[in-house]
Amino acid sequence: MQQFLERHKKHIIRAVTLVLVIVAVAASWKNINATLLESAIGVVVTPFQDLTTGISSWVNTSITSAREKRDLKTENEELKTQIADLLAENKRLSLYDEENKRLSALLDIAQRYPELESTGTSVIAKDPGVWYDVFTIDKGTKDQMTANMVLIAPEGLVGKVLESGLTYSSAQSILDSRSSVPAMSLRTGDLGVVKGSYTLLNEGLCTMEYIDGEAEIMVGDEIVTSHLSDIYPAGIPIGKVAELETDPNGLTKYAIIEPFVDLKHLTTILAVSKGSSGETIQLENQTEDTP
């Protein structure tokens, strides 16, 4: 037996190798289950493998998470600055939007009075006192502004220019107690004079005085400038009647007028000079509104 083995060692090895190869090939094809021995080895080894893999993956994840945290932090900061930038941009754009609306409204009124020469302007400073309502606008004689030019906002009359410097003009609103504007009621054609009053200045109201005692003017009537003025073109809306009282003498009435323009928060206004064609506008208005 010993001799047999010695003599055929090579053959035996070849045969065993061949068998093993065949078994391995067959096993890989047939995908048979692990044998008992393999399972036994597996039972001992796998927990350790599990443990080491767990540890290594934990280390790995904690390292990567620390790195990720750092990345996230920087990313977060970047995003925050980006948001701030975008918000600022957004605000800027909405400001442009507002300005655009204001300017297109001004363009509207400029087109409504095409015969009058007009210049857009904005309010830059206001009188600090409580008695008068005078403000400074940012256009002067350089831009052909002169005294007694009329100031209009999209909603209606604002006031007039008192005097012009080279780059600025001081203007007086209709709420100033020195201002008086010849006016009439659009519905009935009753004439009067819109005057400012320092007691009403704070509430943004003014009065219309010298209305005829028998005039049929009513609360809610629209008041516009009349044709009796050298300064103001006719037909510019001023405001509406808020209250109506009879004067102590019983002959005339006076009304409290609520201007259409928010005179406390003026920003952009239009300055127009009364041209020779102011009359035609007035006539058109009257023919439209008298029936």
Binding site: I124, K126, D127, G129, V130, W131, T136, Y168, S177, Y198
Partner: protein, 170 residues
């Protein structure tokens, strides 16, 4: 140096008073910071210098908003002279007197404008003047005087220190 800084203060005050200060109006009433500066200056440096500050501040207001050139200049100058007379008689570190004087000055100033502009034209409304203008303005002025006087006091101290140093050189 003093002239430059004082002129700058008056100018900056005018710019802020006519633009930014309107945001802090309470029922339309604003403290008259130009008058506060003129009177405080008079209290710190005497009648004459106070009068010049008053004229400067008043002229600015007259040019841009007044109908008569010099009306406010005269008013502020007179008030500064009036209150500057007490400059020698009190301690400048004390806040009570400047507050009181500025408050009274504001009251007199509004009273003068009211008399000249409305009472003599027959449109005076005494109740409105007393309760809507004079009282709120006195209170508001008294409150605002404290920080303004503090700033003026500090600037004045600094300037006087510099001037003293300059005089010692020569």
């Amino acid at each position: 140096m003093r002239l430059l800084i004082t002129a700058l203060m008056v100018l900056v005050n005018f710019i802020l008073q006519t633009t930014l200060l309107h945001m802090f109006a309470i029922r339309g009433v604003l403290p008259n910071t130009a008058l506060i500066i003129a009177v405080s200056y008079a209290l710190l440096r005497g009648s004459r210098e106070g009068a010049f500050v008053g004229i400067g501040a008043g002229l600015l207001q007259d040019i841009f908003f007044g109908s008569t050139l010099g009306a406010y200049a005269l008013l502020y100058a007179v008030l500064a002279v009036l209150f500057g007379r007490s400059q020698r008689d009190f301690y400048r570190e004390n806040y009570l007197l400047p507050v009181l004087f500025c408050s009274i000055a504001a009251c007199l100033c509004e009273g003068a404008v009211y008399m000249a502009g409305f009472v003599f034209q027959g449109t005076g409304n005494l109740l409105y003047f007393l309760f809507q203008v004079m009282l709120p303005e006195m209170v508001y002025t008294a409150v605002i005087t404290v920080p303004i006087y503090r700033i003026l006091f500090g600037v004045n101290d600094w300037l006087e220190l510099k001037e003293k140093y300059k005089y010692r050189l020569f």
